[in-house]
């Protein structure tokens, strides 16, 4: 399974569409404080089905939509698409290229699409599970939380992750 590209539109500070094409090895992201780097990591967690507001640093579902800025009006929708390639059917679908899309509107309604066709969160969650999505993102400042766990919590964490 390979990650090929990420497109973000109206998600958090990305009012205008941006597209990242991924290297097969290491892709680095740099920039000043508050420029939007962690928002890109949030976009990946979000399109993979993240439902927790705290993980998105927001309270309501629509808080991830561009809220406006000086001379720039708020938008009505946020959309993120992640495109993957697989050699077999590791993702449980018969396509070489699999694209996941998530949208949210001001009324809080979420839409999920797989290869452009409407899908349910359950279908996305299945693909996310094949990617072991909950271990994919190490959030800023959280790398050493595993050290503060009690031994019993660490057992659960490792049993899940290993």
């Amino acid at each position: 399974i390979r990650l090929t590209r990420l497109t973000v539109l109206g998600f958090k500070s990305f009012a205008d569409p941006v597209e990242l094409v991924f290297d097969h090895g290491i892709t680095a992201i740099v920039g000043p404080n508050g420029s939007g780097k962690s928002n890109l990591a949030d976009a990946i967690a979000w399109v993979l089905g993240e439902q927790s507001g705290a993980a998105m640093r927001s309270r309501r579902a629509e808080d991830v939509i561009f809220a406006g800025g000086p001379g720039r009006a708020a938008l009505g929708m946020a959309e993120v698409t992640l495109v993957l390639e697989q050699d077999g059917e590791e993702l449980g679908l018969p396509f070489h290229e699999v694209s996941l899309t998530r949208r949210v509107f001001r009324d809080g309604e979420n839409q999920y699409l797989i290869n452009g066709a409407r899908a349910r969160l359950r279908d996305v969650a299945q693909i996310a599970a094949a990617l072991r999505a909950e271990w994919v993102i190490v959030r800023q400042g959280a790398v050493d939380h595993v050290l503060d766990q009690r031994p019993s919590e660490r057992r659960d964490f490792l049993e899940h992750a290993a």
Binding site: D23, I26, A28, P32, W135, D144, A162
Partner: protein, 155 residues
Amino acid sequence: IERRFARSLRTLDRAFAATFSELFGGGRARLIARDGTGSIEGVELVVQPAGKRVRSVQQLSGGERALTAVALRFALLESSPLPFCVLDEVDAALDEANVLRFRAVLERLAERTQFLVITHNRATIEAAGTLYGVTMGEDGVSRVVSLRLAEYASE
């Protein structure tokens, strides 16, 4: 289930010990199962950076904590690889020598796992094949440009 977890914990313990010593340039680390009645109740983490006595995790320095946690994450990637992984400034607390060792292990793991790495460290950036710069405009809108490594002046 217990037997399976015990087996994967032994694999992870060996990977953790190896990755820890690679990242710290020496020293030892263990994941030790604490047994309950017939099952593993908890897992202790015991570390000993090179040149030091065995420490409880609580006594480690800020950088040693971050490096120990990265060693565990990397050990998990060794024992059960992921297709891709996003690391958001995990190298922020590391000094120059530790960043170089971090980069070396990252480059090795990148043969099986794709990485998206958010970082301020030049040494880590140099390990990347593709580099993106993110900027914030006066209008509160983020933009992304593709950078060539040579263009990247030190932050």
